[in-house]
Every structure is written in structure tokens, then in C-alpha cells.
């Protein structure tokens, strides 16, 4: 009891609220409930502090004491404010403990001191001596040391509270800074990714077009050979048919002559017709004319079939394929191109089927074979080999042509790199082949060559690969 009616009344009210808060807390009542009670306590304390401060001033307390007391009130308000800023279950409990202990210490300590000074002033003691005497006072030593201990404790808690507050603030800033950075990075990544996808799409698109145009160029190169090969049989079959027509008209003349003789004409008519038809020759020549013509037509049919096999028009995309057969069908098609340049020596091993796009592999075979033929200036040999290695199959196309220098070799897989005359080379064959073998089939394409030493291209393909191959 301070003996000051208002102050004492207010102290009692504060203690009631504190008890209520503690009671609620132990009953585990809702957070909102405790919070509103807490607000009430803080507001009530603020009002009470204001009353105390007015009382001190009006009672004429020593200004040094008034200032010190006011400072304590301010710090209290500050601490409570900070504690409320980071509400948590544990935080609430700590806040309550802090409030109750603080108020208890306040009521028992400084408020008692204030009351004593006011009473002395009223009894005529000067404010200054009342203040100074208060410093000497040795009340109940137990209470006094308890109050000292609590003061110290309060100081420690306040300091800890302050640094916690700063830390939290810093953390908060750090977190929001980091969040911003992350968001930025994320946005950048997203836009980068979009750009990448775009570039990738463009790349794929260009590759497709290149693949297509190389195919056309290769077909163009082939066309001459194929035309030659088709024009030859068509030429002689056609001419044979013309001759056959003449033969038949001669034969019909012979038949007519027979009829005429039957009707009583002179036999010399028949002899003349037979002589003109040269029957002996016809007897010998007619069958071979027909046989040769038939063979010519079968050749045309075979060329068309070879072209079909080669381009795989009826089966596209990934499948298990026997690449020796694919190599044979490619050789059939290019043979027209090769036979004037080289002898083809086959050394094909027993190989399992592999998962691939045969039309694309044929395109690679064709590129290698046509390149080999081009590299041979007069006459040479082209070796075609296959075998098994490392859970896959390998193919080799080797020629005895002019070979290439290291400088050329380092560039042959570049798109549009060619050492050939305009119209002869597109410079796309090997870059497309590399794309097909390495990127689309997960295989390998290696070259071994030297100037004047011929060239050997080696393909390796895995038995099955997971790399996606788009049909072309």
C-alpha cells in the first residue's frame, strides 16, 4: 500500500487483472481472449502511469526522481510493445510472466518509494532531501535485496528483449530480401527457360529442314545414277518393241503369202516373203528379244523396289531393323553411282537387330557411300563392314580414295562445309549423319583418314537407345 488512494486503487485493479490473466492462461483459454485481456492490462497500466506521473509532479517530487520514474514507465511501454510485435504461444507466456513480475516489482519497489517521498513532502520535508533520504533507506533487508535482484533480472530481460527484437527485425528484413531475390531469380529462370525452349524449337526446326534438304540433295545426286540405270533398260526394251513390230509385220506378210498360195497364187510369192522375213534369223532372235526385254522390265521393277526399300516409304519411325539388310538396300540404290568408280567389297558380320529409324540410317549409309565414291578419283575399292561391339552394332565404310588432311577432317561435321564443286556437294551430308547417329540414336560416328590415305568412317549404334528420334 502506498497510502495514496488513487494509486492504491489502481494497483489493486492492476493486480486483479494480472490474476485474471494468469487464471485464463492456466485454463488454456483462447488466444484472442488472452490477447484482449492483455490489451486491457497494458492500457490500464498506461493510464495508471499517467496518474502516478501527475501525482508526482503535483506533489512536488524531486525532478530527478520524477524523470527516473517516468523513464521506467517509458521503457515498460516500449518492452511490452516489442513483445507484442512477435506473438507466439511461447511469446505470450513470456510476456505475461514479464508483465506480472514487472508490475509486482513496480508496485513493491519504486511506487512505494514514490509514496514515501510524497508523504515526507507533505510533512514539510524538502523534495530534495526526501529524494536523497530515500536512497539511504534501509527497509526490510529481505524485501530490499529481493527488489534489487528483480531489478537486475528486469534489466537482463529488457536487454535480451531488445537484442531479440533487433535480431527478429534483421531476420525479417533478411527473409524478405531473400524472398525478393528468390522471386527475381525465379522470374529470370522462367524467362530464360522460355527463351531456351524457343531456341530449342528453332534448332529442331532447322535440323528438320536441313535433314530434309540434305535428303533432297542426296536424292538429286542419286537421280542421275538412277536415271541412267532406268533409262538403259527402257531404251532397249522400247527399241526391241519397235523391232518386234517389224518382225511381226514380216511374219504376217509370210502368213498372207501362205494364204495367197492356198488360193492358188504363185509359190514364188511365198519364197519372197520368207526371204524378206529372214525366218531362220527370226526363229533364233525372237526368243532372245523377248527374254532380254522381260529382263529389262524386271530391272526397272527392281530399281523401283530398291528405291522404296531405301526410302522406307511404307514403314517410318522407330523399329527393330536388320541394318545389314538396310545397307544392302542402300548399296542397291547407290550401286549405279558406285560401279563406275569402285568395286564394293562386303564384309558384313552377323549382327542383331537394333532399335532405330531405318530410313534415317539409310540416309547415313548413302552419304558415306556417295562420299566414298566421290573421294575416289579414278578407280578404287569401297569396303563395307559390320560387326558387334559394346552391346551394339558397328558399321564401317572405307574407301581407297584421296583421303583428307587434318585441317579438313576437323571441319567435316560442320554444316555446309564442303571441298566439292558447286552442284556436287552440299556440305550437309556428314553434319546430318552426325545428328542422326549421335543425337537421334545415341550412337557414335568416327572418322579415320589422312591425306592420300583413303578414309574410314565408323558408326556405332546401341542395340536399344532411349534417345527420341523424330520421323522425318
Amino acid at each position: 500500500m502506498t497510502g495514496e488512494t488513487i494509486v492504491d486503487g489502481e494497483h489493486q485493479q492492476l493486480v486483479r487483472i494480472i490474476n485474471l490473466v494468469i487464471e485464463r492462461q492456466s485454463q488454456n483459454s483462447s488466444k484472442e481472449d488472452t490477447q484482449s485481456l492483455l490489451d486491457k492490462l497494458v492500457k490500464y497500466a498506461a493510464m495508471h502511469f499517467a496518474h502516478e506521473e501527475t501525482l508526482m509532479v503535483s506533489s512536488g517530487c524531486d525532478p530527478r526522481f520524477v524523470e527516473a520514474h517516468k523513464a521506467i514507465h517509458r521503457r515498460f511501454a516500449q518492452q511490452v510493445g516489442r513483445m507484442c510485435e512477435f506473438p507466439s504461444d511461447k511469446g505470450m507466456e513470456h510476456l505475461l510472466r514479464f508483465l506480472t513480475s514487472w508490475l509486482a516489482q513496480h508496485i513493491l519497489g519504486i511506487d512505494q518509494s514514490m509514496a514515501r517521498q510524497i508523504r515526507k513532502i507533505r510533512r514539510g520535508v524538502t523534495a530534495e532531501s526526501a529524494y536523497l533520504e530515500e536512497k539511504e533507506i534501509q527497509t526490510d533487508p529481505a524485501t530490499s535485496s529481493l527488489i534489487d535482484a528483480m531489478n537486475a533480472l528486469y534489466g537482463v530481460i529488457a536487454a535480451r528483449n531488445d537484442s531479440l527484437f533487433e535480431l527478429n527485425r534483421g531476420l525479417d528484413a533478411q527473409v524478405s530480401q531473400r524472398t525478393r531475390e528468390l522471386a527475381d531469380a525465379n522470374a529470370r529462370l522462367t524467362s530464360d527457360q522460355a527463351k531456351l525452349v524457343e531456341v530449342l524449337n528453332k534448332y529442331e526446326d532447322t535440323q528438320q529442314k536441313l535433314l530434309q534438304s540434305e535428303k533432297l540433295a542426296a536424292i538429286g545426286q542419286l537421280a542421275a545414277g538412277v536415271a541412267h540405270e532406268i533409262n538403259n533398260p527402257i531404251g532397249f526394251v522400247n527399241s526391241n518393241l519397235g523391232t518386234l513390230k517389224t518382225y511381226i509385220s514380216h511374219l504376217l506378210d509370210v502368213v498372207s503369202a501362205y494364204e495367197a498360195v492356198g488360193k492358188g497364187a504363185d509359190v514364188t510369192v511365198l519364197a519372197a516373203a520368207i526371204k524378206k522375213a529372214d525366218l531362220d534369223f527370226l526363229r533364233e532372235d525372237l526368243p532372245s528379244l523377248l527374254t532380254e526385254s522381260q529382263a529389262g522390265l524386271s530391272r526397272v521393277t527392281k530399281i523401283v523396289q530398291d528405291l522404296k526399300d531405301f526410302s522406307h516409304v511404307d514403314q517410318t519411325g522407330r523399329q527393330l531393323a536388320n541394318l545389314n539388310a538396310a545397307m544392302e538396300s542402300t548399296l542397291n540404290v547407290v550401286s549405279n553411282e558406285l560401279k563406275y568408280k569402285a568395286e564394293v567389297v562386303r564384309e558384313l558380320g552377323d549382327i542383331p537387330e537394333v532399335d532405330c529409324d531405318p530410313a534415317q540410317i539409310n540416309q547415313v549409309f548413302m552419304n558415306l557411300l556417295v562420299n566414298a565414291a566421290h573421294a575416289i578419283e579414278h578407280r578404287g575399292t569401297i569396303f563395307v563392314r559390320s560387326g558387334i561391339a559394346d552391346d551394339g552394332v558397328w558399321f564401317e565404310v572405307e574407301d581407297t580414295g584421296k583421303g583428307m588432311s587434318d585441317a579438313v577432317m576437323s571441319r567435316i561435321f560442320e554444316p555446309f562445309f564442303t571441298t566439292k564443286a558447286v552442284g556436287q556437294g552440299t556440305g550437309l551430308g556428314l553434319s546430318i549423319s552426325y545428328d542422326i547417329i549421335v543425337k537421334r540414336h545415341g550412337g557414335k560416328l568416327d572418322v579415320f583418314s589422312g591425306e592420300g590415305k583413303g578414309a574410314r568412317f565408323r558408326i556405332w549404334l546401341p542395340k536399344s537407345s532411349n534417345v527420341g528420334a523424330e520421323g522425318v
Binding site: 542421275a224 536415271a227 527402257i234 531404251g235 532397249f236 527399241s239 523391232t243 563406275y340
Partner: protein
């Protein structure tokens, strides 16, 4: 009789041409040529034959394993410069055509598959053209002989050379034996 040498690496082509030239008349205007045809599948054998037999016309394929038609006609032109030269090819290569015209002055380039009638008239026209050319030269030579620009010996040598290609280039050794011309033997 006009003598014709046909060269193609494809036997069926040779046979069909032989048949055609046997039954169909080779005519230009009102002139018909009777033909004597020899066919070869190998350029080297054909060259060998051309060294010993005169021909009025050479008809060659373009694409062949041993050498192409242009190389063949080039060699043949040196042996028998007055013979007509034709190419019959399914390989429509512009470069080849330009070379054929510029390097050996071929008379005709006929595409495969050919039209029988066109082929026959191309042969007939080339033969007629050749005859005319030779006739002109003969007349010119007679004029030169008259004017003393040319000796009867040279004229006779030209006649013999046309009959037996290479005969006037035979080198007689000191012992009277025949020395084969190094240049000609190498070409084989």
C-alpha cells in the same frame, strides 16, 4: 557399206541396236545407207579394233567402267579423225555434254531411252555429212594436185591411212622389221 562401231557396257543395249539397224533402213532424204555393224562392250577392245579397221561412225555410251565415252571418242578421233562421232547416253549431265562438244566435236548427242527413228536419222545424217566432207576434201585435193600444192605421194598416203589406220606411221627398223609406235601402244 557404211561401217559402224557401237560401244556400250550393256549387252542388251548392243543387241537391241544391232536388231534395229538390221531391220530398219538408215535413211536421210532419198539416200539410204547400208550398214555393217560391230558392237563392243569394252572401250579398250573397241580402241584396239579401231586401230586396225576403218569405221565411218563411232557410237558410244557415256558412262562405262573402264573409261567414259568422251575419253573413248578422244582416243578414236586421233586414230580415225574423219569418222563421225555420236554419244548415246542416259546420263543427262550438262558438264559431260559441254565436254563432248568442246573437246571432241561430237556430231550428235542422243539421249536414252532413244527414239528409234531419231537414232536412225541421226546416224544417217552423220554419215551423209561425213561423205560430203570427204568428197569436198577429195575435190580440194585434186585441185591442189593440179596446182602442185600437194604431191601424189601425200595423196596416196592419205588414202592408205583411211583404209588402214596407222599404216603410214609404221616405223621401219634398220633391219627392216616393223617398230610399233610407242605412242599408240601406250594408249592401249
Amino acid at each position: 557399206m557404211s561401217r559402224i562401231l557401237i560401244l556400250d557396257d550393256e549387252d542388251s543395249i548392243l543387241k537391241s541396236l544391232k536388231r534395229l539397224l538390221r531391220v530398219a533402213p538408215c535413211t536421210v532424204g532419198n539416200k539410204t545407207f547400208a550398214l555393217e555393224v560391230e558392237t563392243f562392250g569394252s572401250p579398250l577392245e573397241a580402241i584396239e579394233r579401231a586401230r586396225h579397221e576403218p569405221f565411218d561412225l563411232f557410237l558410244s555410251d557415256f558412262r562405262m567402267p573402264e573409261m567414259d565415252g568422251i575419253e573413248f571418242l578422244k582416243v578414236v578421233k586421233e586414230i580415225q579423225p574423219d569418222a563421225a562421232r555420236l554419244i548415246l547416253s542416259g546420263y543427262a549431265d550438262l558438264n559431260a555434254l559441254v565436254r563432248a562438244v568442246n573437246e571432241i566435236g561430237i556430231d550428235r548427242f542422243i539421249g536414252k531411252p532413244w527414239n528409234d527413228y531419231e537414232l536412225l536419222s541421226a546416224i544417217a545424217q552423220s554419215l551423209a555429212h561425213r561423205e560430203l566432207m570427204l568428197e569436198n576434201r577429195q575435190l580440194a585435193n585434186l585441185v591442189r594436185l593440179d596446182m602442185g600444192d600437194i604431191t601424189p605421194e601425200t595423196l596416196e598416203a592419205q588414202r592408205l591411212e583411211a583404209l588402214e589406220p596407222g599404216i603410214t606411221q609404221v616405223n621401219w627398223g634398220p633391219d627392216g622389221s616393223v617398230l610399233l609406235d610407242a605412242d599408240l601402244t601406250n594408249r592401249g
